[in-house]
Symmetry: C2
Subunit: 441 residues, 2 copies
């Protein structure tokens, strides 16, 4: 074990597994969450701020006890709940009274019936855009941070932290501000000024690290193992098992908004791959609980060509994902070594889906297509999913006669540069003659 301490992630695993044994409090109330379970070997440990299995170093995830639920009662309870993710509190690692605690209450974003886009793409079976730009800080990150916050409360942490290059920093800053936590977010020191402002405005500590995003991550791992990091909840590291569960709410909302019905096909972006795997988990839970019919669905993963390790592995028929050095405008998806890549491959293959990628040019075209047809201004990640949907239809992989849901996980206002080429149709003098000359009538 001592040898592995020098190996980044593995060293954290060991450190945190030790912590688990020492600090886990049987009195921790995280609702139906019963334990942490290793995704690889099934080994179980009590709920605590740990994220990797002490036996095999596999990722830990939440195991629930849903045995007491009756489908009809649960459906009614959810429908009577608040218009945010806490309507699903019975299915999340949070206490039952979570909705009464101060947090920014994300979720219950619009599922837009995208008839205009469907016409353009030739989809006849019903096309929907799940538009997560409607979250408080305008990305799906609010969903996951909200879970990490509850875990942080349960474990007695007082500082909320993360490494980030954008969306996550704002989500953590806002959530911490409202919940009365200190926040300390680490970013590369040379991030664009706009992104720095979006993260800094919430008043937490915002620390620039002289180095790239990998250096930031490595530093955060060291901090978790150091006394200086005591009392710190890193949402995407030592609170990751809780954090990741937030993505399940996307699956829940989509099905409820479709009238407690599974979509036939979903197109989901891939960064670390966590979101896609948790959407699959959420759908399987709804089936197991009897909240939706038990029938097949297909999950399609979407990447940008400039960071397409999972798509490349999928097309090559590999089970292993080879890391890439990202080079794409879809920066919120630019994870070259996606932790959940193998699980994504498995889900895409098992459900009859696929993984596909599009060029940056296709991303920009897709952002404009979605805006022009549905009035939704998506982040580059939304351009990736819409672009991949188009490509999959053109290639005959996605069936246009089936109900399809496409995710937009963020807001175009955060990636204005991607469409900076968009501008005025015409410039005229303030006269009717000039207006007519421009051919605008």
């Amino acid at each position: 074990m001592r040898k592995m301490r020098r190996k980044g992630l593995a060293s954290m695993a060991v450190q945190t597994a030790e912590t688990a044994t020492n600090t886990t409090n049987p009195a921790v109330d995280l609702g139906p969450a019963a334990a942490l379970s290793c995704r690889e070997c099934g080994h179980k440990v009590p709920l605590g701020p740990v994220f990797a299995c002490e036996e095999c170093f596999g990722p830990l995830e939440i195991a629930y006890d849903f045995s007491a639920y009756d489908a009809d009662e649960l459906r009614k309870r959810i429908e009577a709940g608040p218009a945010n993710i806490w309507r699903y509190a019975p299915l999340l690692p949070v206490p039952a009274d979570v909705a009464t605690k101060p947090n920014i209450n994300p979720g219950w974003t619009k599922l837009v019936q995208a008839d205009n886009l469907a016409r353009e793409l030739g989809v006849t079976g019903g096309l929907y855009v799940k538009d997560d730009s409607g979250n408080p800080t305008h990305s799906f990150k609010d969903r996951v941070v909200a879970q990490a916050l509850e875990a942080a409360r349960a474990f007695g942490f007082t500082t909320l932290s993360c490494s980030s290059t954008g969306n996550l920093a704002g989500a953590v800053g806002a959530a911490a501000a409202r919940a009365g936590f200190r926040s300390c977010v680490f970013i590369p020191h040379d991030l664009e000024q706009g992104k720095v402002v979006m993260a800094a405005v919430y008043g937490g500590e915002l620390v620039g690290i002289e180095g790239n995003y990998d250096d930031v991550n490595r530093f955060c791992s060291e901090l978790i193992g150091d006394p200086a990091g005591e009392g710190w909840g890193f949402v995407n590291v030592n609170l990751r098992p809780y954090y990741a569960e937030g993505s399940k709410t996307l699956a829940y909302e989509i099905c409820e908004q479709l009238g407690w019905r599974l979509p036939d096909q979903l197109v989901v972006p891939i960064a670390s791959g966590s979101q896609l795997t948790k959407i699959d988990k959420g759908l399987k839970e709804l089936i197991a609980l009897g909240l939706v019919e038990d029938r097949p669905y297909k999950i399609f993963g979407a990447q940008a060509e400039g960071c397409s390790p999972v798509s490349t592995a999928y097309k090559a028929g590999h089970d292993v994902v080879r890391p890439q050095k990202p080079n794409t405008i879809a920066k919120s998806l630019a994870i070259g070594n996606p932790a959940d890549g193998p699980y994504v491959l498995d889900i895409a293959r098992r459900t009859g889906g696929a993984v596909e990628d599009v060029t940056d040019e296709q991303v920009v075209d897709a952002i404009k297509l979605l805006a022009r047809t549905e009035g939704i201004f998506a982040e580059t990640a939304g351009g990736v999913t819409v672009g991949v949907t188009k490509k999959l239809i053109e290639n005959g992989v996605l069936d246009p006669s089936l109900t399809t849901v496409v995710l937009n996980t963020g807001d175009g206002l955060k990636t204005l540069d991607a469409v900076a080429g968009t501008g005025l149709t015409a410039t005229i003098r303030p006269t009717l003659d000039s207006f007519r000359e421009a051919g605008l009538v």
Copy 2:
């Protein structure tokens, strides 16, 4: 009367009043909207694309027939409605089936119980922020444009248009895209690139006018009177009576979200003053309909010092508002000659409220205060209302022991420049030593 014809707005009034007589269709279905009624002289005309009284040039507004409503039934109908403004369709100038038509479905934004901010400001009676940054294009403009769109449909218009310097352009572009309307938006040709992109991405015509905002407005007025503008609905000109009603939904939502209760005090931003007057109208309607208790409420108006014509008139005890040349970072409120200024003065005085203004520095401080305490990143207009609330409490004008609702009408991502000074707390090397040296432990 003839003399007034030469005075811009008045000349449009005459032109459009004539149009009214010619084009009004008794078959127009705009739900409970019964007629247009002059706010000054009470003269009534049939529903049509007109906005000024043919008798006295006063502004026309919607007169409703609510006589068939029973309070309990109406309340239940609203509560069973969709999670957007169309839950209030029975109180708006829209057809009963409006929710089935394609539009971007704004509204039902969060009413945030702002306990942290309340503590900082010393408010003990309950403080709430109505956060309209949650709308589809992230400002309250989506509410008003949605009404104008329905009027445009009813009158057979095929192009949606407006003059704008920002928020409105995006709201019109998005609404038109989704509804399948052509859009043509006029802006000053030298607008910041970011704002141009936000408006252009929806794919409508975006025309730069060589001139300032006044030139743009003047040109739009000419276009309405010209054959080239036939079939065009200018949301904030010939559709203004319908458009303006959208602001009533803020009042409805606030009361419903408080449990069908009136707040004691509201702090509302003033640009043209239309929003404040329509919020008052909405509250009065709820009282008249028996949906809330009949008891007093106070409305406070908020301006930026650099554009404070209404505040100046209020403090001087005047009934007339003297125009100002705007010079403030709160550009979405920078209307130097607010059309509804006199009505705002009347409402503030009648309800026992007030009108106050804050400096740009106070606006920035208030944006940061709201972000730091509640995790809400507001537009400069939100900085104005929060800043004015703080000032009114300090001056003993606003009673901190009463329930108070403060409006945030837009999103901080649209006015990043205002807080551009916000940045990194520290820059460190990626080592624990460097972290400790920075005093961050």
